[in-house]
Each structure stands twice: as C-alpha cells, then as structure tokens.
Symmetry: C2
Subunit: 245 residues, 2 copies
DNA sequence: TCAAAAGTGTTTGGGTTACACCCATGA
DNA sequence: TCATGGGTGTAACCCAAACACTTTTGA
C-alpha cells in the first residue's frame, strides 16, 4: 500500500456512447449537463467510477441509470487521458459504446424523470461536444463500423421483429454506403441467422414485408467462435467507408 | 477542483507488450521485476503514469527507458481496471503494444545496464504471468493479429532490408497459419509496397534471395487512408485464425 | 389507378486457390 | 554433387457485382 501511495492518483470516469436506430438514422443519446463545467450543454453521459467498482460495472451503471436497461451490448473502446482534457483538473476517461433498441428505451421511460435532460441526436447532425467528447464519439463510431463488419451486432439495434429492408437501411446508416437490395438479401439469408416468422407488416401503403426474427442461438455460436461476418459488397464498398478512392 | 475532490482517485500505469521478430518466432520483451509484489518474476514492463504526463507519452517513456528506441509503432489496446487486479490495492492499467526491430534493440543495448533484467520470450512459450498480464498479453496479441490484416504494420518488425521469405514467415508467425509461397508473393508484390533493391543475401548455403525495402511513402499513403490490406488466402485461412471450423 | 416499397435470378468478371519444377549457392 | 531454400505460371473455381421487372397493398 505504501508502494502505491508514492504515485499520482487521478479521478476517472466512464463515458458511454449509446447508439440507437430509428429506421432512418443512426442516433446517439446525449444528456444536458446539470453542472459545471459546460452546464446546460449536451454531452456524452458519463459518471465517475467508484472505489470498489469494476470498469464494465460502472459503464453498465451509467446505462442503467439513464435508460433502465440491463444486459445490453457494451464494448470498451479507448481510454482518453490527455492531461488537459477536463478544465477542472485531470480526469481520465474510459470510453464505451452500447447498442440499444430505441423502442425498449421509450417503453422504459418514466415520465417526468430524466426525460427532459436526455435526447436522441442524429449522428450526422452532432457538431461540437464539450471536453474531448467529439473525439470519443468518433472513436466509438469507427469501432462500431468495424465491429459490424465481422460480428452481427446490428441486431442489437433493431426491434425483435424486423424486415429485411430495415436491416439493410441499418447497415447503410452505420456504414454510410448504399447496398444492393438483391445481393444484400442473398448474403444475409445465406448466413442462416434469421428466422422467417410467417408474419407480415400491417398498415403500410405498399406490399407488406415479411417479418424476421434473429436466431439467438446461431448468433451466440458465431460470437463465441469469432466468426468473420464479412458483409458482402465489401471490397469496393469498404474502400468508400475508409475514404480510400 | 472541489468538484473533482469528491471522487475516488486511483493510481494508473501503462503496460507495454513489446513485440519483436527473429526470423523464427514472434517474441515479447519481459522484465524481471525488481520489487514486490512478484519480485524476481518475469512480467510485462510498465510504469506509473505521472501527473503531467499524457498516456501515450507514458507508454513511449516505458519503451524508451527500456530499449532506448524512439518513434516506434505504438498502439493503445485496452484498459484493465478490475478492482482486485493488483494485490496491493487498486491500480488501473492502460495496455499498449509496440513493434520494434530486434536488431535495433540489440544495437542500442548498453552493456551491463538493464540487459540482465530483460529478455525476449517466444510468445508461444510464455505461460503464466503475474497480475492479469496474461490477459493483457492475449488482448494485445489478438489486436496485432487483426491489425496486421488491414494495415501493413508487419514491416515495423523487420530489418530495413529483408527477403520475401522473411516477410512470409513473419505473417505466418503472427497469424499462426501457413501461406502458399507463390500466392503470397503475388499478393504482396501487387500491392506496390516494396522496393526491389537489386541486392542479394550473402553467405547463405543456397540461392541468395533478393532484398527488398519497404516503400515508406506508399505506406504512409495507405495508413492515412485507412486502406484495407486484406492479406490474401483470407477466407479459409482467417477462419483458422479465428478458430472457426 | 397510382404511388411506394417488397420481392425475386442470372450473368459476368476478377480474384483466390491449388499446385510442381528448375535455379543458384556453399558445403 | 548434394542439400537447401529461392524463384516462377497457369488453370479451376467461387463469389462479389451489376442489373430490371412483377407483386401487393393503401390511398
């Protein structure tokens, strides 16, 4: 113990980029800060880590206190520790991102609670964030873009029953590219990750789409084996994602 | 400041997995610990982060004090913060790995200095390490395996002039697979990342191999554009790397 | 009947894969 | 002359890519 007391100690936080998807846009949950610095600015949710709390536990706590959700996809991304990143003194932050279904979130919202201080923002419309939160957001988004190529994590963002078009636009939103409908369907269906429910969309002003469910067991198999998902149309398309022409 | 004083503070370290390659094996530089806990055990090199020191700076400091090398490939991997990972109290560690040329290291060694307390170990032969260093090592190695597939970082581990066979066995060592000689050469040469020097190996008991140099400019181009390296023979071979059969 | 999205097959081309023999050198 | 690793080309196959029309519903 004496050993450790010789050394500099820093307070540290976990910041959590919470992604959601609304059939249109990839969104991020921000909170309006209730205290200085940057009071009343929109920022990434994050808390200080407690003495007896593991990092993952802290990240899950942020998520649960904010959304009421448990057992959510959560991944550590990077630690940001520039000495001057916090104006009040050194604070090291460990950045996580999580993927939630917006419908679950809305369902869980207690009226009049934190609702007024949180809001979903389209990723493409978020401009400047306080601290180094823009860097953190960018790092987490890039990680998500990579992850989605080799692990079928996209399903975490969709409602339990979804159409192939929803799935496609999710991938298009995350990767910021356009995919060919026929090729996309061929590829996804060939992976045997979807269960056709025999149900259909209702109340839409066009031919109703088949609803699919995600095959959880097969998914776990994939996850545990670290299988490479390798979304089709990758060669050329990925060059676009990476900004290589 | 008052704000920050309310919160728990922890000491921080950076741990650095230093990889090297010796034409045979992928190796890791370990140090024999000079103090408790785990005195005289081999462990990953790591230092406490100072109050006015950025994390990357600290990681580079570890590297330089140990090897005398600067401007080395360095990448942050993951932060390990379990409350009980250090027997003397909570210490959070940010794990990095770096890639160095063993020849540079040897050249820089001051006789009688730290030489007696550091040594290269073949990755495959490292068994139990103190603290959670085995987890850290594993995480860094897995990151290296991924990195090497989409960025030509392998060259950081080779001497300035090298043969195609050396390059191939480097990839085989990192990915732990066998590659086809003809296909590998075709692929690598087609990337236009190598400069043929017109020089040859000397003193070998077989046909001497051409020496190549790495095209630094093209490399930087690739890096900045995030180009996907995509080592050939990937589909089937990568399945092996991922343990998926 | 119109708009809007769902759904569906085939062809083509490029890249991965598999594979075997001769060459140059030192011992 | 022998052992050792260096060096080279081609054919088969598979999969990504490109592409257009019919179907079903609500308005």
């Amino acid at each position: 113990m004496a050993l450790l007391n010789k050394h500099f100690r820093s307070p540290f936080t976990v910041d959590n980029v919470i992604f959601g998807f609304d059939d249109e846009d990839l969104k991020v949950l921000l909170i309006k800060r209730g205290e200085d610095p940057f009071e009343n600015k929109w920022a990434l949710p994050g808390y200080f880590v407690k003495e007896l709390e593991d990092l993952d536990t802290a990240a899950n706590r942020v998520l649960e206190e904010l959304t009421g959700l448990q057992n959510v996809y959560l991944e550590q991304v990077q630690t940001f520790g520039k000495t001057n990143r916090h104006p009040s003194g050194r604070v090291i932050t460990i950045a996580y991102y999580s993927l939630i279904k917006i419908s679950d979130f809305t369902k869980n919202l207690k009226p009049g609670s934190i609702a007024q201080t949180t809001a979903w923002f389209s990723l493409s419309k978020i401009q400047h964030l306080p601290f180094d939160h823009s860097d953190i957001l960018q790092a987490c988004f890039q990680r998500l873009q990579k992850r989605v190529r080799n692990q079928p994590v996209g399903f975490e963002l969709l409602p339990p029953k979804f159409t192939l078009s929803q799935l496609q636009s999710l991938y298009e939103a995350i990767l910021n590219i356009e995919l060919d409908k026929r090729n996309f369907r061929k590829k996804i269906l060939s992976m045997d990750l979807l269960i056709e429910l025999g149900e259909y969309q209702e109340g839409v002003a066009h031919r109703p789409a088949k609803l699919y469910e995600f095959d959880k067991n097969r998914y776990k198999e994939f996850l545990s084996k670290g299988y490479v998902f390798d979304l089709s149309e990758s060669k050329k398309q990925m060059a676009k994602v990476n900004g290589y022409h």
